[in-house]
Structure formats: structure tokens, C-alpha cells
Amino acid sequence: MAKRIDVSGLSAFYGNHKAIDDISMSVEPRSVTAFIGPSGCGKSTFLRTLNRMHEVTPGGRVEGKVLLDDEDLYGPGVDPVAVRRTVGMVFQRPNPFPTMSIFDNVAAGLRLNGTTKKSDLTDIVEKSLKGANLWNEVKDRLNKPGSGLSGGQQQRLCIARAIAVAPQVLLMDEPCSALDPISTLAVEDLIGELKERFTIVIVTHNMQQAARVSDRTAFFNLSAVGQPGTLVEIDDTERIFSNPSVQATEDYISGRFG
């Protein structure tokens, strides 16, 4: 059920400001692709073009193509709501719905897909929480508010919420940057398991994390502040971290800038 992503000639704008310029790449199904690069080079922006969340921002506009298997996300007649059900997203800061219980948080996305039978919901919620390695910690307090969990638990709750609607692709924007090392480890382990079922794209500022969890790594850069970000190279993670083909990548990874 995981799908392949092919991006070609993609640029994204905030009003008149071009944030990313002419990006083309492929993301393999059932793999983890990491995006690295200095702040402001457009990693988040690019990630959000992959599930049409970019246009939610006022003034947000996209040019180019994103093919999911063979379907263009930006083709005529494509419903952004349907796209987002297929391509799920986990955000930088854990953001469980504050008015909902843990159970309702995970069930939130399902309820609108027409799954309202309590037994179906219970099944999927349990499966998703198990999938997010959270079940054992919360199974006795499913009716408590989700905001009562620790930061790491909240982030796994958000992952459970995202996988509950059975997407094909999972986008993660710095999912561990607000977490302590132990919670980070839990989420990284989880990513390793989830890639059996989903295509995963993860933005990270942590080189070790990119090296640990990803199969392929894409390096983004921008020529100067205010200029649009561009894709420098994408390659197997091992190669990027040992023997990249572009000098800028090596400089960035070895900490010589950025």
C-alpha cells in the first residue's frame, strides 16, 4: 500500500516570495528518506507541498508536478482533502487535540471517513496505538485527555493519529526536535518499524538521526538568505555521509557551515 513519489520541477511561493525552486526527486516506497539542510532552506515548505498543506498558508502557491505512483497531486480535479488522507503528516511540535481524549484523538481522522461503529473504531485505535508503540502506556487511560501525556508520548499519539487513517505516505517534519533523547529513540525505533508499511519522508536537523533512520538522504541548501532553497543532491544515506558528490554537502555534514 505504500506509494512512490516523483517530484518534477516543483517551486513553491509565499505570495511573491519564492521559497523553493525547481526541485525534482523520487522517493521510493517502503523506505525512509531524510531531508537535511540549514534552517530556512525550504525543507518544511517542500514537505508540505507533498500533501497539499502548503496551500493552507495564506498566499501559498505551487508550480510543478508531484506524482503519487502515477497520479499528479496538483492535477485538475484532485481534491486536497483526499490527498491528505493518502499522505499523512506529523508536525514538529506534538499537537494532540486538547478537547479530545486519547481515544478520540486517534479516532478523529477515522470518524469522518465514515467509520463510526464503536467496535471498528476500538480495533483501529488499538492497532494504531500499538503501531505507535504507545498502547502499553495508555491502555488504562484511553478516556483521559491527550494533553496529559509527556511530550514524547504526545508525539507518538500524533503518529498513531496519522497512521490510523491508513495513509500511503507519512511525512514527518522534525518529529523529534521537541523531544528528549529517550523519547527520540522510541520514535526512531517506531520509524524503523513503520517503513515496512509506509513510505516515510522525515525532515531532521540531527545528522546522526538522518544516518540512523534513513535509507536515502536529500540535502537542501540556499545560495543566500532571501534566495529560494534548492535541492543539492539526493543519494543513498551511506554515500551522502561517507562520500558525497557535491562539496557543499560534505561541508554541511562535517559542520563547516550551516
Binding site: 500533501n51 498543506m53 493552507v56 495564506p58 482533502v81 483526499a82 490527498v83 491528505r84 488522507r85 493518502t86 499523512g88 503528516m89 508536525f91 511540535r93 499537537n95 487535540f97 486538547p98 478537547t99 478523529a108 481522522g109 469522518l112 471517513n113 483521559k144 485527555p145 494533553s147 496529559g148 501525556l149 509527556s150 500524533c158 493519529r161 496519522a162 487513517v165
Partner: protein, 363 residues
């Protein structure tokens, strides 16, 4: 200030407290000094006032306040040093400002309770004026309570959804020209005097369309006054909902309207209800539009769509105008009921806000 002091005491009470370097310690006035000074300056203020033959209690109070501020400053400067003295000066001024704000409020409440409770009883609440001549004691406000409840209820039924949807439009959908125009008109509406809202409905509903006076006509004018208040407060509440929550919901493939319905509104419903309740409290005391459009009545009329009705503020006004001892008493009692009504609404609003508030952080 007192925090510093308790902290210091806590330090001194601790077994290791003695190890605090002497240089950090400083002479302090005892805790009861401000209270003692306040009492003393009040006494001296009254004394001076009496001796100088000033009749106005306000002058006594001002003298006492001045004495208190100057006395505290001088004493503190002598014992504790300049910095503490300034701190106490500022604290003293804040307290006096607080008292100045509270005194009128408390005296208003006191006056209304003292005068209003004279005739306020079960009979007063459950009977109308009927054919009772105004100069005689007796009668009641049942018809006015019914009228106020119905008019305010109808106004809320019109204004709350209208205001809510307008605010949702402005915050969630509004971009460009139309949103700017709507915002502008809401701002203008906020400033409409209530008598003008009344005249507006009067000219259309009664003069042009030819309907008679009714509670509903009054409710329309009250709704005009209520809408901008509801829009403003709801807008503020919706803006408080973090964008991350909207995005989290949209990213799950939830359509925008459902996101608003299931995520945005539940998160802000406490604040929105509070805003609506406060708007209700605000219009419950309006007299002018009611006078123009509902006319007032002496008997019970439970149908807000037909014929004149009474309302509490209008009743107060009319009874006061009668100018007899008995009608003064009734006016105060009705005013007390009106205040109680508004206070209960406020309390309910606070209760709902607290009950519905999303549990912030860890619970």
C-alpha cells in the same frame, strides 16, 4: 513585596538560614506596619476633618489617604532605605486606586440591596401591576421578568448565530475586500447608540411595515446591539486557537468545515459562551429601544409577538417617574432583580468557561 518578606522569613526559619551572609540582610518594618499605618491615618484623617469642620467625608478620606502614603514613605525611607520606600509608595498608591474603584461599586450594590429588599418578596416576583394605582404599595414585576426573559432570549436567538457565523467567516475564511468591509461595519455597529438602533427598527418595522409594538420588535433592536459584541468576542476566541490544531486536523484529511466544527469550535467554546453571556448581560439593561418598540405594560403578556410588553429596565424607569413612595420602592426592588439577573449570567458564563476550558499542559 510580601513575597520577598515571606521568602526571607522562610530562609530565616530554615536550619541553615543563619548561614545567609549578613550583608544581604536589611532592616525591615514589621509586617503589620502598613495595616497599623492605615488605621492610624484613617483616625487622624477623621480627627483633622472634624477639627477643621469639613463636612465632606470625601475630604476626610483624601486626607487619610495622603497621610498614609506620606507616612509610609517617610517611615520606610528612615528605616528601610530609599528603594524599599519607593516600593511601598507604589504599593500604597495601587491600593488607594483600587479602593477608589471599588467604593462606588460597593456603595451601588449596598444602596440597591438596602433599598430594593424592602418590597422584594415572593408576591412581588409573582404578580404584575394589574390595575393597581401607582401611588399604592403592592403590585409586582412578574410581567416585567417575563418580558425581559423573552425579549433578551429572542435577541440572543437572533444575534448569537449571526455573530458566531460572522466571526467564523472573518477568522477562518475572510480574505480581501469583503472581510475588510465586514470588519468595518462591525466596528461601526459597535458604536451605534441604543436609541438609534431602536429608531431604526421603529422606522422600518412599525412605521413602514405597519406592525404594532411587541417584544419581538424590541428584540430586533437588542439584537442589533448584541451582534457586534458577539462578533468581536468570538473573533478573539477563535484567533486564540493555535493554527497547529487546524493544520493537524487538515493534515488528517478532515475537510475545513469539519475542522472548524470539530476542532476549532470545541477548543474555544468556553470563551465563546462567556462572550455571548456577557453580551446578553449588556443588553438586558437597555431601556431606550424597549421604550420605543415594546412600550411597556402593566399586565402580563406572555406573547412576545403581539402587543406591548414590560421589561425590567423600563419598569424601573416608569416606576421612578411615578414619583410616589411606593413606586420608588418598587423601582429599587426591580433594579435589584435586574442586577441579580446579570450577576447570575456572569457567574454561569464563568462556570461554563472554566468547565469547558481545554486542559492546558499536563493535567
Amino acid at each position: 513585596m510580601s513575597d520577598v518578606m515571606t521568602e526571607r522569613q522562610a530562609l530565616a526559619d530554615r536550619p541553615g538560614g543563619t548561614s545567609v551572609p549578613v550583608s544581604l540582610k536589611q532592616a525591615r518594618l514589621p509586617r503589620w506596619t502598613p495595616a497599623a499605618l492605615a488605621l492610624a491615618s484613617a483616625a487622624v484623617g477623621c480627627g483633622i476633618g472634624l477639627a477643621a469642620g469639613l463636612d465632606s467625608r470625601v475630604q476626610w478620606g483624601l486626607i487619610a489617604a495622603l497621610l498614609f502614603v506620606v507616612g509610609t514613605f517617610v517611615l520606610s525611607a528612615a528605616v528601610e532605605g530609599a528603594r524599599q520606600a519607593k516600593d511601598r509608595l507604589a504599593t500604597g498608591l495601587v491600593w488607594i486606586a483600587f479602593l477608589l474603584a471599588v467604593i462606588p461599586l460597593a456603595s451601588l450594590l449596598w444602596e440597591t440591596v438596602a433599598r430594593g429588599s424592602k418590597v422584594l418578596d415572593g408576591y412581588f416576583l409573582s404578580h404584575s401591576m394589574g390595575t393597581l394605582p401607582d401611588a399604592l404599595p403592592g403590585g409586582g414585576i412578574y410581567h416585567a421578568i417575563i418580558g425581559t426573559l423573552e425579549q433578551v432570549g429572542l435577541a440572543t436567538l437572533i444575534a448569537a448565530p449571526l455573530g458566531l457565523f460572522t466571526a467564523i467567516y472573518l477568522v477562518e475564511y475572510g480574505r480581501g475586500r469583503l472581510a475588510k468591509a465586514v470588519t468595518f461595519f462591525v466596528d461601526v455597529m459597535t458604536g451605534i447608540p441604543s436609541i438609534v438602533a431602536g429608531l431604526f427598527v421603529l422606522s422600518i418595522w412599525i412605521l413602514i411595515l405597519g406592525f404594532g409594538p411587541s417584544g419581538f420588535a424590541g428584540a430586533m433592536a437588542l439584537a442589533i446591539l448584541m451582534v457586534p459584541v458577539v462578533v468581536r468576542s468570538t473573533e478573539e476566541m477563535l484567533k486564540l486557537v493555535p493554527n497547529e490544531l487546524r493544520e493537524a486536523s487538515l493534515a488528517l484529511g478532515v475537510p475545513k468545515w469539519r475542522t472548524i466544527l470539530k476542532v476549532v469550535l470545541p477548543t474555544s467554546i468556553g470563551g465563546i459562551t462567556t462572550g455571548v453571556m456577557l453580551a446578553v448581560a449588556r443588553i438586558a439593561g437597555e431601556t431606550a429601544p424597549v421604550m420605543l418598540l415594546v412600550w411597556g405594560a402593566k399586565t402580563i403578556n406572555t406573547n412576545p409577538f403581539q402587543d406591548a410588553q414590560q421589561s425590567l429596565p423600563l419598569y424601573v424607569f416608569q416606576q421612578w417617574q411615578q414619583g410616589s413612595e411606593a413606586s420608588y420602592d418598587r423601582a429599587w426592588a426591580a433594579a435589584l432583580v435586574l442586577i441579580a439577573f446579570v450577576m447570575i449570567l456572569n457567574l454561569v458564563a464563568r462556570g461554563i468557561a472554566r468547565w469547558k476550558a481545554p486542559r492546558g499542559g499536563r493535567s
